[in-house]
């Protein structure tokens, strides 16, 4: 190598070295991008609030109200509401009719449930930063989902409107009464959307099938309208409610971004280190769902037992099965009182009058003088005193 080549060699060598270094630093960037780390106690304290399943049964305001003070005491830096509510496994399942209607989100007559949930988080806990991390938001839950300003969605998540509110008034023939009820019910959309500073036209279109929805870009934001004359039309039908995929929601500014994981979402919020707090609160919420659903299974069995035992309460066995049925109904009432969700799914009235009437009837039957030859049955079957067990 002559002298002339030395600088060239060094130059090339250094350029190779710098190339290597610059690749290395790119690697470092990717390392850092992956480096949202869950730690023992460093970084942002994050409380996870699960909100999965069916509105009114799995998602009940009193369950969240009960933990409100615990959350205040805990005072996490961030609350992540993990929303996963689906009426069907995915859109294809929905199109094929593969779903269990009993598991659809519910409002029933209880308009106050979702606003009360929103009140817990968006009013009482408003001083704590909150993010909704949506794995699915189908139907009834959506107005509540949009009560959070910051919404992130997983790639497969959907955000769809609900026809459940319209079902409350669509059968009313008198136009005035119907109009009044329509306003009363669909107002729920704008009330909940108000917490998340959502456009009322967007919110109402999600709960009222008669509303249209179109939008016009205003910079990166969308201005929404209840007509079909804006730049793009989302809901051209007055019989359906719109739905958004994660990508659409992101593009239209309804969600902040589409993320795969909790870590991705935290990274987008400049959180590199975090630790989970309040695991007992998260567990309490999960336990509630497990418990009411276990009690639902138990209640279904008890109700089946009651019906079966009513048929057995004849002849010599009458009193035995009447007593058994009395205990069965008492257990059922007790479960329904402890878990309103069970009462709702079982289809019993709010005051449990039906069950109480059955109980009274059984007690009446048991008070009747018994005789060995008299037949009988359950309370609805009439019957006499029945015989004593040997």
């Amino acid at each position: 190598m002559n002298k002339r080549h030395v600088p060239m060699f060094i130059g090339s060598f250094l350029s190779l070295m710098f190339t290597f270094i610059s690749f290395a630093s790119e690697d470092d960037i990717s390392i850092w991008a992956d480096a949202v780390t869950e730690t023992e106690d460093r970084g942002t304290s994050v409380l996870i609030i699960p909100m999965s399943g069916q509105t009114l049964t799995d998602i009940r305001s009193e369950v969240y109200a009960e933990i409100q003070e615990d959350i205040k005491t805990l005072n996490p830096d961030l609350i992540v509401i993990e929303i996963d509510c689906k009426d069907a496994q995915d859109i294809f399942y929905q199109q094929m009719g593969w779903f269990n209607p009993k598991e659809f989100g519910r409002f029933e007559g209880e308009t106050k449930n979702l606003p009360a949930v929103a009140k817990v988080f968006r009013t009482h806990l408003k001083d704590i930063e909150q993010i909704a991390f949506v794995k699915d938001s189908m139907g009834s839950i959506t107005p509540l989902t949009l009560s959070w300003e910051k919404v992130y969605m997983t790639p497969d998540a959907r955000l769809t409107g609900t026809l459940a509110l319209a079902a409350r008034y669509s059968g009313i023939s008198d136009e005035n009464v119907r109009g009044k009820m329509r306003t009363a019910w669909t107002l729920l959309g704008s009330i909940l959307g108000g917490y998340g500073k959502r456009d009322p036209d967007l919110m109402l279109s999600l709960v009222d099938p008669e509303k249209y929805l179109s939008g016009t870009w205003k910079g990166r934001k969308v201005e929404w309208f209840d007509h079909l004359n804006a730049d793009f039309v989302i809901d051209p039908s007055n019989e359906m409610v719109p739905g958004f995929s994660a990508t659409q929601a992101q593009e239209l500014g309804i969600s902040e971004a589409t993320v795969d994981t909790l870590n991705d979402m935290l990274l987008l919020n400049d959180i590199r280190e975090y630790h989970i707090v309040g695991e007992e609160i998260t567990k309490e919420l999960n336990d509630y769902v497990y418990k009411w659903r276990s009690n639902l299974t138990k209640a279904q069995l008890l109700w089946g037992d009651y019906q079966q035992q009513s048929g057995w309460a004849t002849g010599n066995e009458r009193k035995r099965w009447l007593v058994k049925n009395k205990n069965t109904i008492k257990s059922l009432i007790s479960i329904c009182k402890n878990y309103p969700a069970v009462r709702i799914r079982m289809g019993f009235d709010k005051q449990l009058r039906g069950l109480k009437n059955i109980l009274e009837e059984i007690e009446k039957e048991l008070r009747k003088p018994s005789g060995p030859t008299r037949g009988g049955g359950g309370p609805s079957m009439g019957g006499g005193g029945g015989g004593m067990r040997p």
Partner: protein, 435 residues
């Protein structure tokens, strides 16, 4: 201003220093959270126990860098950043059979043991992935014989060997239940996150083809036939238009998930759809058209058959990743040195399931008969006893058959449907009352 000669000297020294720093090890002293101090140097093979949040794990690799608050450990797959405060313990993996030092003994004043400790054999973990093959034969109707359970179990078995295993679904199926197929789609997508899932098809019609599309790669046998994924109901009626369109969309998304053209979907479902393609002579790149404008026409939209293709056609049009009739041929296509089947677990699963199905086919009908009172008995009590026994055996079968139980009239209320299992339990109670 630095003159040219000085610049050369400076650059040379800088380059030298850079090279030196990358070649020679740097001493590293780490103070762990329990106060213990570990001394070592970059380039050393180390093993760490780290406690990150709720997870405790072990990392083995080369200590590449010490940045004060964290270190970088190069494992076989990547550079891993580990915060010092997450480290529970560090031990040095000696390559020269000398000592295995850890933080607890490093500062000990006790004399070192006189006998050298045996070298710890490093188990292959993340990164050192043996390319093992797990083969699961799937032979029969989807939902009828082919079900999710065996696929889930072979994946769980492969999991025990670490991520990155090759799971081969040896598919020979005339089709079957769309619902089961779609349930398997979700399962396969999940498995694909951690393993390479291969469809090796023989006959893959309808549901068999759908299942194949859900895999990462598809390989044909020379005799294979593949396609015809039309959805129809039990009385040979095609599904209604909205459902058929939804099915095409579903297929398109499944194809896209495996980077195949979604244009294969429609012609495999409805005969009116067209599909053709061109192959660039220089690059080999295939361009597909949903018209007949391509040089090679797969579906002209006029014939009365929906698209079904052979191994040659599949390879030519890029639908298949290759054709193999034997394990050795397949191994080459999979880029394996040799056919390396880890064990027979998949075959065992398939064979056990087949035996169970055969037994179920024989027993369950008889049990239903017995449960309904078709039993020989000397007395009413004996009859009831036999009925109860049959009922309990039916419940046991329902448990054993799992998702396939509904094919035998043992539905469990799935998707709000009838719950015949609950009805059997209720009937058993009734019989016990009569006893």
């Amino acid at each position: 201003m630095m003159d040219f000669m000085n610049l050369k000297k400076y650059l040379l020294i800088s380059a030298f220093l850079l090279v030196v720093s990358s070649v020679f090890a740097e001493p590293v002293e780490l103070t762990l959270k329990d106060g213990t101090v570990w001394n070592g140097e970059t380039g050393e093979q180390i093993s760490l126990v780290i406690h990150k949040g709720r997870n405790k794990s072990t990392v083995e690799g080369t200590l590449s860098r010490n940045a004060g608050q964290f270190i970088v450990v190069t494992t076989d797959t990547r550079d891993q950043v580990i915060f010092i405060s997450d480290i529970d313990s560090i031990s040095t993996e000696s390559t020269t059979n000398t000592n295995v030092e850890d933080v607890d003994t490093a500062n000990s004043e006790e004399p070192a043991e006189s006998t050298p400790k045996p070298t710890k054999k490093v188990k292959p973990k993340v990164g050192k992935l043996s390319k093992g093959v797990f083969l699961l034969p799937l032979d029969g109707g989807v939902g009828e014989i082919i079900r999710s359970t065996e696929i889930r179990e072979i994946a769980e078995h492969a999991d025990t060997y670490g991520p990155g295993q090759i799971i081969i679904l040896d598919i020979n199926s005339p089709g079957g239940s769309v619902l089961t197929g779609v349930q398997m789609r979700d399962l396969l997508y999940d498995i694909r996150k951690r393993h390479r899932v291969i469809a090796w098809v023989d006959r893959a019609t309808s549901g068999g083809a759908f299942l194949s599309f859900c895999c990462d790669e598809i390989y044909f046998r020379r005799s294979s036939n593949f396609g015809s994924i039309t959805m129809w109901s039990g009385n040979f009626q095609g599904a209604a238009e909205p459902e058929m369109q939804a099915w095409i969309t579903q297929l398109e998304s499944v194809l896209a998930k495996s980077s195949r053209t979604p244009l294969f979907a429609a012609p495999m479902v409805v005969f009116a759809a067209q599909l053709s393609y061109d192959i660039d002579e220089e690059t080999g790149k295939i361009t597909y058209y949903d018209t007949t404008e391509g040089e090679f026409i797969l579906s002209d939209g006029e014939s009365v058959e929906v698209l079904s293709i052979t191994a040659d056609q599949a390879e030519h049009c890029g639908l298949s990743d290759g054709t193999a009739d034997t394990f050795d041929e397949l191994a080459i296509l999979l880029d394996l040195d040799e056919w390396n089947e880890v064990d027979e677990e998949g075959r065992k699963l398939a064979s056990n399931w087949k035996m169970n199905l055969e037994r179920a086919g024989i027993e369950i009908n008889e049990l239903f008969g017995e449960f309904n009172g078709n039993v020989e008995a000397q007395s009413n009590g004996e009859r009831i006893m036999k009925q109860i026994k049959a009922g309990k055996k039916l419940l046991s079968w329902a448990n054993k058959l799992g998702e396939s139980a509904m094919n035998f009239g043992l539905d469990d209320g799935f998707l709000g449907g009838p719950d015949r299992v609950a009805a059997i339990k209720r009937q058993i109670k009734e019989l016990e009352q009569q006893r």
